[in-house]
Each structure stands twice: as C-alpha cells, then as structure tokens.
Point group: C2
Chain length 148, copies 2
C-alpha cells in the first residue's frame, strides 16, 4: 500500500478511535478512486447484516479521506469537515463493507482548484458500497474545507 | 430507568457492538421523547469534537429505538430497518453527545396505526443533537417496518 494510504489509515485510527473500533482499513487509492474496507463482524446489527450507522460512518470517512488525499496531492493543507450527508440503503450488506469514492476532475476539480486561491471551499462527493455485486448503499456528502 | 429502556440499551449493546464501542446509553423515554447519550471521548475526531459518523450513527439508533419502543407500546412486533437518512451538521459538538427524538402522534401516529393492519409501513422521524444550548445536528430518517 502507498505510504500516503498508510498515513491516512494511521491518522484515522489514532485520531478517530471509532474508525479503529469499526476496523476501517484503506485498501487502495488508484486513478482517483479511494477504496476503504471494514469487516462485517464489528459492524453487525440486530439482523446479522451491516449496521446502517457504520455504513454511513465508513462512507463519511471515505469521502473525508478523498478530500485529504487530493489536498495532499495539490500541496494544500486544510481543515476538512462534513457539513451535510445523505444516504440511501437499497439492500442489506451481508459481508465485508467495501466503500468506494471516486474523484472526478470535471466535477470536483474546480472546487479543489478554487481552494488554492481562496480561504475556503465546498466539495460534494459520492460513495457507494456494493454487496454481492450489486449496489447496496449510495452516500452523498458535502465537505467544507478551510485553510488552517 | 424504565425496564423497557434497559431492554433497548441491552439489545443495542448485545446485537450492535459498535453502539457499545460508542458508549451509547438510553437516558429516558418520557412523553414520547427518547433521549440517548454517548460520551465525547470514544467518538472524538481529528478536530477534538464529535465525529460526524458517530453523530449520524447515534441519531440512526435513536430513531430506530423510537420505532422499537412505539411498536412495543402498541403490542406489535416488527423488523425495523433504516431505508434513508439525511443529516445536517450546523456546528461542532464539543461535549457529550445527547440525541433527542420526538414521536408526534399527529405526524407519525397514522403510519404506526396502519402497521397494525398491514404487513409493512414507513415512518419518518427526526432527531436533533444540541451543543452548549444550540442545535448542532438535525437528522431525518425513514424507517421501513415489516411484520416478521
């Protein structure tokens, strides 16, 4: 795994203890796609499937991680907070939670570029979680970023 | 605390281990208002405030708990899942997380009553979390309920 992915996961586990309790791991960051995984067991619910709150939290972290990675790539430093989130649960997640977030230069690029010249910006990002080959969860988060 | 609140908290901790890791506790269920609390420490984030994912998860649990309590009161048994959630973070939560969910008989009563006669229903519920006397978080969840 890239050193930057190790640093992201280490930051999460050290500074967001619930991310460690959920077993959140960075899988990869390739071609502007960040993939994050967590086992089902620590995130199980009363139905034996993944807890809706864990699914959301993993999406929220994945989107946050994407912003953190893209700021790093751009040589920028920012304070990143989630301002708003919405999520739809289309089907139950019955195995490991694998969350994917894609950065589209045409969609999120302008907001990121604006931050180089401005004290703050907002970035909207989507994450998805599939289960047995089908989309189970779709998350949209709006992240507020400001210079430190 | 009422026996029913003890049972709700015990169910969460036994069957949703991340709810125990977050330190989620039922505070009270009085006059159709459910109050749930979790300490800041297990839910802290990189900014030293409450993690957005924990705030959402605690709201999701509180809404679920409200549906569970109201089904019990009505003598009904149902399989409760969160179908959709949205949340707005207006300000950072800097202390214990105290989440409140109110059941309004005029708003949610008809959906609950319908479930007595039908195999499934949907209930929309709101939760709020205040910090230092001001609203910090507003959550809206749509819960799908079906007979077992």
């Amino acid at each position: 795994m890239d050193a930057i992915c190790v640093e992201l996961q280490t930051t999460w586990h050290a500074e967001i203890p619930i991310s460690a309790a959920m077993g959140t791991e960075v899988v990869s960051f390739t071609d502007d796609e960040l993939v994050v995984r967590a086992g089902l067991e620590p995130n199980i619910n009363v139905h034996g499937t993944a807890f809706a709150g864990s699914l959301y939290a993993i999406c929220a972290l994945t989107g946050w991680g994407m912003v953190w990675l893209k700021l790093r790539e751009a040589g920028l430093d920012g304070h990143i907070v989630l301002a708003e989130g919405r999520i739809e649960y289309g089907r139950a997640v019955t195995g490991d939670i694998v969350c994917s977030c894609r950065f589209d230069p045409e969609v999120q690029g302008p907001g990121l570029a604006a931050f180089a010249k401005s004290p703050r910006t907002m970035l909207a990002l989507s994450c998805t979680i599939d289960t047995r080959g089908k989309q189970a969860v779709r998350f949209e988060g709006i992240y507020a970023i400001r210079k430190r």
